[in-house]
């Protein structure tokens, strides 16, 4: 009665992993650009920043994609009836966490792409 069966997947940490990756990507991109532009001066090219942000973005998208995939399996949409996942069982609790993680991964995926867009359109430090 006093032990809960916990797997790493069933935790609030995993739930917030997607947005955490977004936050790290966001900060890395912003800090890179801010430091570069402050040190390189007005009108400097952004090429190195574009490259770095590109790499950050790729890494973040891969990580979020992997997380989303694992969440999709955890949710197991094909094997169950789908939401609302409100039943009093460990399976349903797990499916809910899987679905919520999947949705957050989706949001984080889009948000990472959004944050990468500025370096596509802006090429210098002005």
């Amino acid at each position: 009665m006093t032990r809960e069966t916990r797997s790493p997947r069933n935790s609030l940490i995993v739930l917030s992993l997607g947005p955490t990756i977004w936050a790290v990507h966001f900060l890395a991109s912003y800090v890179t650009a801010a430091i570069w532009c402050e040190k390189a001066g007005l009108g400097a090219t952004l090429s190195p920043v574009q490259l770095l942000v590109g790499i950050f973005t790729l890494a973040a998208l891969v990580a979020i994609g992997a997380l989303g995939l694992s969440a999709w399996r955890h949710w197991g949409y094909l094997e169950n009836e789908g939401p609302p996942h409100d039943a009093d069982t460990e399976e349903e609790r797990g499916r809910f966490l899987g679905l919520a993680t999947l949705l957050l991964s989706g949001l984080s995926f889009v948000a990472v792409i959004y944050v990468a867009l500025p370096v596509v359109f802006i090429a210098d430090c002005r």
Partner: protein
Amino acid sequence: MNEAPAGHDPDMERRRGQEKRLRAAWATPRGWRYWSAVNNTEVGVWYTATSFAFMLFAGVLGLLIRVQLAVPDNDFMTGPFYNQVFTLHGTVMMFLFAVPIFEAVAITIMPQMLAARDLPFPRLSAFGYWCFLIGGVFVCGSIFFGAAPDGGWFMYPPLSTDPEQAGIGADIWLLGLSFIEVASIAAAVELIVGTLKCRPPGMRINMIPLYAWYILVVGVMIVFAFPPLIAGDILFEMERMFDWPFFDPRRGGDPLLWQHLFWIFGHPEVYIIFLPAIAVVAMIVPTFAQRPIFGYSWIVLAAVGTGFLSFGLWVHHMFATGLPAVSLGFFSAASQAVAIPTGVQIFVFIATLLLGRVVSSTPMLFVWGTLAVFVLGGLTGVMVALAPFDWQVHDSHFIVAHLHYTLIGGGLFPIVAGIYYFFPLVSGKKLSDRLGKWVFWLMFLGFNIAFLPMHVSGLRGMPRRVFSYPEGLGLENLNLVSTIGAFIFAAGFVLLVLDVVRPRRGQPYADTNPWNAGTLEWLIEMPGESWGVRSVPQISSRYPLWEQEGLARQVAEGRCYLPDAEEGRRETLITTTIDALPVQCLRVPGPTFITLWAAAFTGGVFVFATFHWWFATLVSGILGAGAILRWLWTGTAEIPEKPAKDIGLGVTLPLYMSGPRSVGWWAMFITMMGDMAAFASLIFGYFFYWTIHPDFPPPDQPDPSAGWLGLGLVLLLGAWWLTVRARGRNAAGSPGALRGALALGAVLATAGSAALIAAAWLPGLDPTSHVYPAIVWILLIWTAVHGILGVVMQLYCIAGSVAGRLTPRYDIDIWNVTLFWHFMALTAFLTVAVLALFPMAV
């Protein structure tokens, strides 16, 4: 049920006895001792009433602003007084209403919603309330002496750091609000632990009421958003009091650092206001659609997603500061992205209404108002998220309109809906539906008449924060209409207040569960008892009152957990975070005045420091520390008279738990996360200065002594290791070793803190000469103060061990102190690594 006559029925007698004991244990003190109450049913109501009082005060200030702007070139107020009025209007609305009202409502209804008797740290709630009251009165009162802050609610330096232009009002703002921010963080800790650990058995993570999801998210946001502002406040006040040049460009400082720190707090703040208010809507909508929410997971997505994204928006308040376009682009992108989760929850509400059978009611009317007003505010928000458009309307009345649409639509309207909805929980009676319609239409129409024209006046070039505007710019009619609307809006609000405070002796009590809602807070009897829920049920669904038949009767008859208070103690259940398995029966403390004293003396520190009465500050600080230590000594980590107790239904739970399974450990962990956020903000300051200066550290400034820094670090790490050892040796049954290790640890920690100070003192770093020595000093003082705090904790544990309240079996205190020391070690390491190694690296 047995139909035997009452009084002879053994079951009835059992229940009477239980109720009598429960009532005695949870009794609210009478007479003047009433103010020693700590239970959420009292503190929550005081909190709510006080925030509304501040809100009315700030509302009057708002009306004064509108009177002044009603006609061009008005001389109703002088410019300087007007500047105090608008600064205080914004400050009070944000810090003394919008955030506290969330804490107030959450403290009032969360325990009921989770069928908990109280939150885990009732005295902390009471302490927070008294801090809020004292700080709030201090800040608001200043205007009656013409000494209110007058630099705008975001207090930009150098205007607000200039002692000639910003008088004592700026200090009142900084110190008064820092004090309140501490209280907010306390409330956040309480609510996070409450949501995670105080749920009823069986309420798994997929069944938590949506309100609790939002509160959890907002609590975490506060823990990370408020500390940067506290860090900023520290820098700001050091500049004002001791001339340390953090924001003075002539000595290497930069006014923009304040803007960064302020808005890292300030933008999440907007969502800290919005999310708990929309959380109320998430409770009201299912009730009046008479069906479960459709899209529960989507709401969780929205709450968690918004919580995260809101930390990536802060620079959109700084779009006009001339930062590189690419930096603005990142924040523009995040500002667009946050609209997605916000939109999702609106559509979840609409979908739920679409799928249910909607019952009209006053709360629903205000939900309507929320949608209509907030959606418009959100749409203008999407517009200003585009930097090129923001450049045009930034700091104009367009922004004034936008922010009022989001805050009143997304904050005030849902809260008023919540007042109509939850009022029976507090008073046992409903508010008037007839008046409610009047209130709604006056508020709704008045609001739009007041604020819709401001979009146009802003586009026509009216900046915000002006005490007058000339004729002939096409602003006259718009402003007059706005003023009329503001008074209509205010009339609606006054009507609401009248309805709340009017005597309602003749009015019968409402039925139990008057709205036929599905969640646990409606288990409460009308009128409610201060024990909250009669017995704690086993939960197996999201809407237990709809889906678990007979639940209300079982609870009322005391057939669930904890139906009794055999030992006359206040108790509530602690459960696991994911599946809510019961793990502990937690004894919570009862009424006391010590929290009031602790708040009064702590408040004294801030108030006296404002006036530079250093001796009084010191005395107040010592008394405050004494009061807090006494509170901890007498009210926490109490050793129970027996190890475990039967909570009913054949379940026996321990009464005492330490380490990661105890709520105290969780509270310490969360508090330390906030502490690290403030520390990280100071480190950010260091690297910010490095970024903006071609030469940092400046060649003509001495560096702190690497030798002393290294020595300090070694000593502090030694103290940390000894503390960890002390816990281990104590648990192994050797309290003597604990005392010895801690005593040595305290010596090392004191010496280590002193060594850190020496590292800046001996090379002669002058913090008023340049920002480099100033930021070095701040980091060292921060670390040394934490070291001394760690010493106090070590001595406290030694005393506890000697007094027999810290034993090998009952060792909460040493666990929590060890946890503090883990973070302390990290702080010391980072401080020394940055200060000693970075100057060598560049």
